[in-house]
């Protein structure tokens, strides 16, 4: 009896470590984005004779994109609630829905990119477009990593169900996904909204 209690206590401590470590990681990632944001703000006017932000962005399109991501984040939150209630099937459905919305977001982002590139406004065009593509694509890359993680989690939940370890991983995943959501809000505001003003 005593033994299992101790083992449990140890497990909790180690969960605590992982969560704390993950928060620090998120902070460092946040700083990578902060650097890219800083660069974007500096480079915003460096259009090199090319188009500026208010000529390029299609706000309604990006708004739909944003809604997709926000919804996926919301569902991701529900998924964690389901996981805490040990509702395995609900978790899988939640993960799939999160993933589908995320995929939709990525598809829209890629559409926007390919549209810009086909217009001749690729990242090589100007300092501004360089900063724009890098910032948004870095976020997109994170979303892609998140999607990969999500697939792995679907596999894992369907194989082993909701163990304490799985629950922790799901919680961390949702942290990551919410974090990307917050970053996107900043991108939406600083890049797109201020961009079309």
């Amino acid at each position: 009896m005593n033994k299992t209690k101790e083992a449990l206590a140890r497990r909790i401590v180690s969960d605590d470590k992982v969560t704390f470590g993950f928060w620090i990681y998120l902070m460092t990632d946040c700083l990578i984005f902060a650097s890219l944001f800083a660069v974007y703000v500096v480079q915003r006017s460096a259009t090199a004779g090319g188009p500026s932000s208010n000529e390029l962005f299609d706000l309604p399109f990006v708004l739909v994109e944003t809604l997709l991501l926000l919804t996926s984040s919301f569902i991701c939150g529900l998924m964690v609630l389901a996981a805490q209630a040990h509702r395995k099937n609900l978790v899988i459905i939640g993960l799939i829905a999160t993933g589908l919305l995320g995929a939709g977001f990525l598809a829209m982002e890629l559409t926007e990119f390919s549209h810009l590139i086909s217009e001749g406004y690729g990242w090589q065009r100007s300092g501004f477009l360089t900063a724009f593509f890098t910032l948004v694509a870095t976020h997109g890359l994170h979303i892609s990593v998140g999607m990969l993680w999500l697939f792995v989690m679907i596999y894992r939940v369907s194989r082993v169900g909701i163990t304490p370890a799985t629950l922790r991983k799901l919680t961390l995943f949702s942290l990551f996904w919410h974090f990307l959501d917050v970053i996107w809000i900043f991108i939406f505001t600083i890049v797109y909204m201020i961009g079309v003003l």
Partner: protein
Amino acid sequence: MRRRYKIGAGIIAGLAIGVGIAMWSQTAEFQVLDAQGEVAKKQLDLLIFASTLSLFVMIPVFALVAFISLRYREGNRKVHLYRPTWDHSNVAETIWWGLPALLIGVLSVIIWTSSHDLDPYKPLVNDKKPVNVQVVALQWRWLFIYPDEKIATINHLTIPEKTPINFTITADAPMNSFWIPKLGGQVYAMNGMSTKLHLMADSTGDFNGSSVNLSGKGFSKMKFITTATSETQYKEWVKQARAAKSLDWEVYTQIAKPTEKTEKQSYKLEDAMLYDKIIEKYMPMHETSGHMKEHGE
């Protein structure tokens, strides 16, 4: 044994210094300490003042190190008070937070005022009309353009003494730093940008100048002599330089090609806008390369 290695070390150190001094030829001079211009002189004064101020920290620290380590060393025959748990004293700690803070406070005032007083962008004023010189760092030599005199030179700079010189500085090369130690501190030369530096020579003479920021393989060759002359000599010199071959954009593109040749040149400036054009080369609005043009406008 202990003594032997100390002697050995002493001999090595002594030898090294001896060799150094022996080889230190007559020509060595401390250019930074031998200020010949208003700016350099003020900078030197600051250096001396700040060094003196720092002695207020250095001397107590070195004295304390020597005193404490001798007095409290284990082998000391005279045993001094040993207080193994003494680890705090408000008075002492207040002193060494306070004293350095005070010194730094003084220094901060100096930093603030001197940064404004010696701002390289601040024009120097006296009764003479300033001479404008546009400086272009190339790979790997210096082009000096005198827009008012309508001349240009490579790797040599002639200025009238006791006259403010307004330098505007750019580069058609990796970043360089433009420095004439005897006249005053340096400023970076960057392409697509124009920085400023204001200097003045207090007397006639030849002063070394060079680039001090790594700019590629010919970096160490980017030296020039600054000659400060009397006003009449300067006018004479301008007249001579004007008789030289002419410099326009065509010629410039030849000059701007990377080279490690260091010989001096003089030109008659044909293109009054040359400096601006060199900057505009890197300016976005004038960018013509890139196939995207036809999509844009």
